[in-house]
């Protein structure tokens, strides 16, 4: 971080203070982002995003084409069609809706379309549950989407706008999902600062500018859009002679996305005075920590508030909030956690048959570190089971016990936090 902090272009005084909940904040961000097409199907707790945005459409506040679709599968399909002709497209869903659109998720990223989606993380059935956990997010972790997890309403607004810039970056061209916890953020009103419309428009560089591609039958590069004047074939069959190469392009783009996410985070800081760690991870108290808790989403705030109190009592503990789940910032995580003695990774979803997804990403990042920390996995918060400050306190005590022992047996690697045994 630079010692000389230049004043942001739009300091707080030039921003507008509103009181909105997470869903409304996302709708407001979409309103300002010059989105051409929104196609969405309602599902609790995302419904407010779509309702609020339709109000903007009805009032003539946006130029957006709002497509009423009959399912989430259709919603993403419509976004794919729209993006394929050069539109800036947005949708939103979660849980069963996300599960329904899963084949189209892979298609969106395979076609390298910079669609943005807000996912109000909600548990997958069965049993039916409308509350928050990350099981729906985890089902899309190999889909080739960039996945960013936000902690509060302000970050939901900021990140939704940033998502378009990241997705549309010429070196990325991948769809981006912004994950905000259902109810805990979607329905939670918090203080929010928004930029004036012109600031957002300028930040995004106006409407979407599609990238160019070179095909054998045109002499010059043409825009990567379906255009009868410059015809291209999108969505083709690719046999075992080319499928692999096309997939590798996606993987390499995802690698480049790490740098772009950090750059956009810095650009946002220059614009607003706000940034989220380095854009990929947001550490607190890690520098001198003996114990570290790794967590994503709104619970990170709860964990941090308890960790702050523990640090005041002299306990050397820190919290590492992961913001970019995909691409997973392996290097940064290894750098930050290498000197910690005991790491607890909190997964808000179960992966029956193996350990938590976030846990697996963290330990694999640490694999090449010679003197690795002990890493344990906590499954917590399923189906909206609250992570209270009391529970975090209990967690910290348990970890301190483990640290004293200096060793965790294999059968204790995974624990549950907050379940009735």
């Amino acid at each position: 971080m630079s010692a000389l902090e230049a004043s942001p272009k739009y300091p707080k005084e030039k921003q507008i203070m509103l009181a909105l909940n997470g869903d409304e904040a996302v709708a407001y961000a979409i309103k300002q982002s010059y989105v051409d097409v929104v196609a969405a199907y309602p599902i609790t707790p995302q419904t407010i995003i779509v309702e609020k945005f339709s109000e903007f459409v009805a009032n003539g506040e946006v130029h957006t084409e709002f497509i009423h679709v009959e399912s989430e599968h259709s919603a993403m399909s419509a976004c794919i069609g729209a993006a394929a002709v050069g539109a800036r497209a947005f949708t939103s869903t979660c849980s069963q809706g996300l599960a329904l659109m899963v084949e189209t998720l892979y298609i969106a990223s395979g076609l390298r379309l910079p669609i943005v989606m807000a996912v109000t993380n909600r548990a997958l059935s069965a049993p039916i549950n409308i509350h928050n956990d990350h099981s729906d997010a985890y089902l899309m972790r190999d889909s080739g989407w960039i996945m960013l997890f936000v902690e509060n309403v302000q970050e939901a607004y900021d990140t939704t706008i940033q998502a378009f810039k990241i997705a549309e970056h010429p070196e990325v061209q991948l769809p981006v999902s912004v994950h905000l916890d259902g109810f805990f953020l979607s329905h939670t009103m918090e203080n929010l600062y928004v930029l004036p419309d012109e600031a957002v428009y300028e930040f995004l560089g106006g409407p979407r500018k599609p990238v160019k591609v070179k095909v054998d039958y045109f002499d010059e590069e043409v825009e990567y859009v379906l255009n009868p004047a410059r015809p291209l074939s999108m969505g083709m069959l690719a046999f075992y002679d080319y499928y692999f190469e096309i997939k590798v392009q996606q993987v390499e783009a995802m690698k480049r996305a790490e740098r772009v996410i950090s750059e956009v985070n810095e650009k946002w800081y220059e614009l607003t005075g706000r940034r989220y760690g380095d854009g990929l991870v947001d550490p607190y108290g890690i520098d001198d920590a003996e114990i570290a808790i790794v967590v994503m989403g709104s619970s990170a705030g709860t964990v941090r508030s308890v960790v702050k109190k523990a640090r005041e009592r002299g306990i050397k503990i820190g919290v590492l909030r992961v913001r970019s789940f995909r691409p997973f910032p392996r290097k940064r995580v290894a750098e930050l956690l290498r000197d910690v003695k005991l790491v607890a990774v909190l997964d808000r979803a179960a992966s029956p048959g193996t350990l938590g997804a976030l846990y697996l990403d963290v330990i694999s990042s640490l694999y090449n570190v010679k003197e690795r920390p002990i890493v344990v996995n906590y499954i917590y918060g399923l189906g909206g089971r609250d992570l209270s400050p009391e529970l975090v306190q209990k967690l910290i005590e348990e970890l301190r016990e483990d640290l004293k022992k200096g060793y965790v047996p294999e059968e204790k690697t995974m624990r549950y936090l907050g379940v009735r045994e």
Partner: protein
């Protein structure tokens, strides 16, 4: 930080009440947070909402287990369970029908255990709004505690969230409720 837990039934405006108080706090220069917790999503099912107000940014996300204030919109919800976690020295603000001792009995407490404020919300709502929606009247009761939010800010919040004549009626209702709330 002040933590308020609201209790009501679906359709009574529990969430809106929490939002208005949070908005008023924000107008008053504070940090605030407001969100609901639903049971089954239908009218009549118990609904909770939560308000946090603080001078510092609020990092916690999740439900309130040790509220400073418990507000009950629906008399039929009163029970010892409803004040679970209420901090010592905490305040109970409830809608009531006129029988003070019945309220204490339903809550399972004695005079002096907690501060108890009784708001004739149903009566006033019926009189001024011609409905049984008690949420705004209960905000009037909350205003009796001067330290949570200011009446001026609540007025602004109501004007922001409701339109024209409805906003005005609600403001009258809030003021009446504030003045007619009694303390046990």
């Amino acid at each position: 930080m002040i933590e308020i837990r609201w209790h009501g039934r679906g359709g009574q405006g529990v969430w809106t009440a929490s939002n208005i108080v949070a908005l008023a706090a924000i107008y008053g220069g504070k940090y605030a947070q407001s969100f609901p917790a639903f049971g089954p999503e239908r009218s009549g099912a118990p609904v909770l909402s939560f308000t946090r107000i603080s001078d510092e940014p609020i990092e916690i996300h999740g439900m309130i287990y040790e509220p400073d204030i418990v507000i009950v919109l629906d008399y039929t919800l009163l029970s010892p369970k409803i004040i679970e976690g209420l901090k010592p020295g905490g305040v109970i603000i409830t809608n009531y029908t006129g029988d003070v001792n019945a309220v204490l009995e339903k809550l399972g407490i004695k005079r002096g255990d907690f501060r108890v404020l009784l708001v004739p919300a149903s009566k006033l709502a019926l009189e001024i709004l011609k409905t049984r929606t008690t949420n705004t009247a209960m905000i009037g009761g909350l205003l009796r505690l001067k330290h949570v939010v200011r009446f001026e800010d609540v007025k602004k919040a109501v004007m922001d969230r409701f339109s024209g004549p409805i906003a005005e009626k609600n403001i009258i209702l809030i003021e009446r409720a504030m003045n007619e709330t009694i303390e046990v």
